[in-house]
C-alpha cells in the first residue's frame, strides 16, 4: 500500500510539472499584455523606459524558462506571488474564494451521486416499465443540455417567474446555512444534473448486469429479502464502473464550475480565473490551474483507493 501511494505521488509530481509548464507557456500566447493589469488603463502615461522597468520588476523580461523556474521554486514553498490586478497575495485571494468553489462542486457532486445512482438503480429494477422509460429519457435530455443553458432556464423559472429562490448572492454554509442553501440550490442543480445523468446511465446498465449474476440467484436461494439482495449484494458489486465515471466527472465539475460561478455571480475561484484570464493575471491563473490539477489528481487517487475498498479482488501492492 505504501509503495502504491509513493508510486502515485511520483506520478502526481510529474503530472503537476507537465500541467504547470504547459499552462505557463500557453499564457504567453494570450493577446493581453499583463502590463495593462499592472499599471491600469492609463498606460499611455508611461514612457517605454518606465514600462521596461516595471516589466523587469515583475521578472517579465527574463527568458521564459527562467521565469518558469522562478515561479516554480516560489510556488512549491508557498509563495504564489501577487495578483497583477490589485497587488494582493494570490494565496489570500484563494483562501477567500476557494470555499465557495468547494461548496459548489461538492453540492453538485452530491446531487449527481444521489440522483444518478438512485434513479439508475430504480430504472434497472423496473426495467422496461414507464419508470425506466422516464428515467432513461430524462437522462438523455439532461446529457444534451449545456450547463449555461440549464442555468439560465433555472434562473428564469425559479427566480424570475416563480420568485422562489434568489438569483444572486452567495453565502458559505457554515456562516449562513439557510441563505447558503437557498442561493446554492440552482447552481448545484445546473452543475450536478449532467453528472446525475451520466451516473444514472452507468448505474442502470451496471445494476442490470449485476442482477443477472449467479450470486444474486444464490442470495435469493438463501432467502435473503429482495431489498437486501439489491442493496447489500447487487449495489456494491455494480458500483465499480460507477465510481470510475464519478472520478472522471470531477474534472467536468471543476470546468463547469467556472461557467456556473459567472452565471450565478458566485465569488469562487472559477469566476476569479475568468477575470484573471482577461487581464493576463499570470500568478492568479497559475494558482487556479494548479489547484484544479491537484483536485483532479486527488480525485483519481481517491477513485483508485475506492476500487480496492469496494472490490477485494483489487488490492494495491
Amino acid at each position: 500500500m505504501t509503495r502504491f501511494l509513493l508510486n502515485r505521488l511520483g506520478q502526481a509530481i510529474i503530472v503537476f510539472l507537465m500541467v504547470s509548464a504547459m499552462v505557463f507557456g500557453a499564457l504567453r500566447i494570450l493577446p493581453e499584455d499583463p502590463i495593462y493589469s499592472i499599471v491600469g488603463e492609463d498606460s499611455e502615461g508611461y514612457t517605454p523606459e518606465q514600462v521596461a522597468k516595471i516589466k523587469a520588476d515583475y521578472g517579465l523580461d527574463k527568458p521564459l524558462p527562467v521565469q518558469y523556474f522562478d515561479w516554480l521554486s516560489a510556488f512549491v514553498v508557498g509563495d504564489w506571488g501577487n495578483s497583477f490586478q490589485n497587488g494582493l497575495p494570490v494565496t489570500r485571494m484563494i483562501n477567500r474564494k476557494l470555499p465557495f468553489t468547494i461548496q459548489l462542486a461538492l453540492g453538485a457532486l452530491v446531487i449527481g451521486v444521489v440522483f444518478g445512482i438512485s434513479t439508475g438503480v430504480v430504472a434497472a429494477l423496473k426495467r422496461n416499465t414507464k419508470w425506466d422509460a422516464i428515467a432513461t429519457s430524462s437522462a438523455m435530455v439532461a446529457l444534451a443540455l449545456p450547463e449555461f443553458w440549464l442555468a439560465l432556464v433555472l434562473i428564469l423559472v425559479f427566480s424570475v417567474y416563480l420568485d422562489l429562490l434568489p438569483v444572486f448572492g452567495s453565502a458559505l454554509i457554515w456562516q449562513d446555512p439557510l441563505f447558503a442553501i437557498q442561493s446554492s440550490i440552482l447552481p448545484w442543480l445546473a452543475l450536478g444534473i449532467g453528472g446525475a445523468a451520466t451516473l444514472m446511465r452507468q448505474s442502470r446498465s451496471s445494476m442490470l448486469e449485476t442482477m443477472g449474476e449467479d450470486f444474486i440467484r444464490t442470495a435469493r436461494s438463501k432467502g435473503v429479502p429482495e431489498r437486501v439482495v439489491i442493496i447489500k449484494h447487487a449495489l456494491r458489486n455494480s458500483l465499480l464502473p460507477v465510481v470510475t465515471i464519478l472520478g472522471l466527472r470531477i474534472g467536468r465539475i471543476i470546468g463547469g464550475a467556472i461557467i456556473i460561478e459567472v452565471m450565478f455571480a458566485i465569488p469562487g475561484i472559477g469566476q476569479m480565473s475568468v477575470t484573471a484570464l482577461t487581464k493576463a493575471d499570470y500568478p492568479v491563473i497559475m494558482a487556479v490551474t494548479m489547484i484544479s490539477a491537484m483536485a483532479i489528481i486527488v480525485a483519481n487517487l481517491v477513485t483508485d483507493l475506492a476500487y480496492s475498498y469496494i472490490d477485494p479482488r483489487i488490492r494495491y501492492a
Binding site: E213, D214, R217, T218, S221, K222, G223, P312, R313
Partner: protein, 342 residues
C-alpha cells in the same frame, strides 16, 4: 400434531415424503415462441432419500429445481400449472414473504458455477452467517461462530482463516464446500444440488459428491442431485428420474433404471458414460441427432427422431408414463423391447 395430520390428509402426502411435485409445468415466453421447459412433471422425494434427475442440457431438469424454489426468472419464465407440496403446503400458493422463509431455511440449493455463485465482495464467513441471521435470528457473532463450525464440517481446512477470505482466494472445490455449508446451514429438510459438481475437476467431483451424501445422510435430509452424468450418481442415488425435452421419461430405483432401462434415451445416456471396464474399440457411444427445438416439438414422442427403436406410432402419439416394473415407470411404446435388448 393434529394440524399436521389434518394437512397431510388434505394434501394426501405420505408422511415421510418431503417434496411432492405434481403435474408441474413451466414455460418461457421467447421471441421464438412459448417454450415448455417443464411439461407436466411429477416426482417426489422422501426423507433421507437421494433422488437423481438426469438428462441433457435443456431437458428441463434445472428449471424443475428452480420452479420448486420459485426462482425461475419471471418474465420470461412462468410456472403455468401444478403443485409443489412441501411441509404440508403448496409452495406455489405461498406469498413471496412465506416463500422466502422456505428458501434457505427449509430448502437449500447449490448451483453449478462455484466461480460465480458466491458474492465476490463479501467474505466467506459473512456469506454463511447471512442465512443463519435471516432464518435462525442469530446475532452476528453467534452466526459467525456457527459459520466457522459449518466450514469445518464441510472439510475446509484452516476454517478460522478462511472465514475472512473472499471467494476469489479459494479453489473451485473449496467454494463448492462453502456453498454446501451455506445450503446446509439452517438444517433444511431438502437439499437441491443443481449440477453441483459439473464444473469441478474429476477428482474433486467425487469428493464433493461424497460430502453432499455425508452431510445429508447424517441429518436425514432429502437430496436431489441434478446432473447430466448418469455415471456419477450411480453409486449414490436411491432413485433416478430421466428427463428429456421437458418431460419425465423414465423413473425408478437406480438399479432398475441402470439394469433394466425401459427408455431408449436412458439406454443412450448410459452408453455415453465412459466405462473403464467396457472393451469397446475406444470409441464412446453417443446419441445421434440433437435435442429438439422446445418451441416446436414433434407431435409424437419428442425422442422419436433420435430413437433407434422408433415405430410409426411414435411419430404420431406421445407415450405416457406406464409401469414397466415395480416402482419403475417409463414413457415409451417400445419399453418391453428396449428392456429386452439389454
Amino acid at each position: 400434531m393434529t394440524q399436521t395430520t389434518h394437512q397431510q390428509e388434505k394434501l394426501d402426502v405420505a408422511s415421510d415424503t418431503v417434496l411432492d411435485v405434481r403435474n408441474l409445468s413451466t414455460q418461457f415466453r421467447t421471441q421464438a415462441g412459448v417454450i415448455k421447459a417443464v411439461d407436466n412433471v411429477s416426482f417426489n422425494v422422501k426423507e433421507g432419500e437421494v433422488l437423481a434427475i438426469v438428462g441433457e442440457s435443456g431437458c428441463g431438469k434445472s428449471v424443475s429445481a428452480l420452479s420448486v424454489m420459485r426462482l425461475v426468472p419471471t418474465p420470461p419464465g412462468e410456472i403455468t400449472d401444478g403443485q409443489v407440496l412441501f411441509g404440508g403446503q403448496d409452495l406455489l400458493q405461498l406469498r413471496n414473504e412465506e416463500m422466502r422463509e422456505v428458501r434457505g431455511g427449509q430448502i437449500g440449493m447449490i448451483f453449478q458455477e462455484p466461480m460465480t455463485s458466491l458474492n465476490p465482495v463479501m467474505t466467506i464467513g459473512a456469506q454463511i452467517a447471512e442465512s443463519l441471521m435471516i432464518h435462525k435470528g442469530m446475532s452476528k457473532e453467534a452466526a459467525l461462530d456457527r459459520a466457522e463450525e459449518l466450514l469445518i464440517s464441510v472439510g475446509v481446512s484452516d476454517a478460522r482463516l478462511k472465514m475472512d477470505d473472499y471467494p476469489h482466494q479459494m479453489s473451485g472445490g473449496q467454494r463448492q464446500r462453502v456453498m454446501i455449508a451455506i445450503a446446509m446451514s439452517c438444517e433444511p429438510k431438502l437439499l437441491i444440488a443443481d449440477e453441483a459438481t459439473t464444473a469441478l475437476d474429476v477428482t474433486v467431483q467425487a469428493q464433493i459428491l461424497e460430502l453432499l451424501i455425508n452431510v445429508t445422510q447424517e441429518s436425514r435430509t432429502a437430496l436431489i442431485i441434478i446432473t447430466h452424468n448418469l455415471g456419477i450418481v450411480a453409486r449414490y442415488a436411491n432413485r433416478v428420474n430421466v428427463m428429456y425435452a421437458g418431460k419425465l421419461r423414465e423413473s425408478g430405483s437406480a438399479i432398475d433404471v441402470y439394469k433394466k432401462s425401459a427408455h431408449p434415451y436412458t439406454v443412450g445416456l448410459l452408453g455415453s458414460v465412459p466405462n473403464l471396464m467396457a472393451s469397446t474399440e475406444g470409441k464412446l457411444d453417443s446419441i445421434e441427432g440433437e435435442i429438439p427445438d422446445l418451441s416446436n416439438l414433434p407431435s409424437g414422442c419428442a425422442f422419436e427422431p433420435r430413437c433407434t427403436f422408433a415405430q410409426d406410432r411414435c411419430r404420431t402419439e406421445d407415450p405416457s408414463l406406464q409401469a414397466v416394473g415395480a416402482e419403475h415407470i417409463a414413457a415409451c411404446w417400445e419399453a418391453e423391447k428396449v428392456q429386452g435388448s439389454k
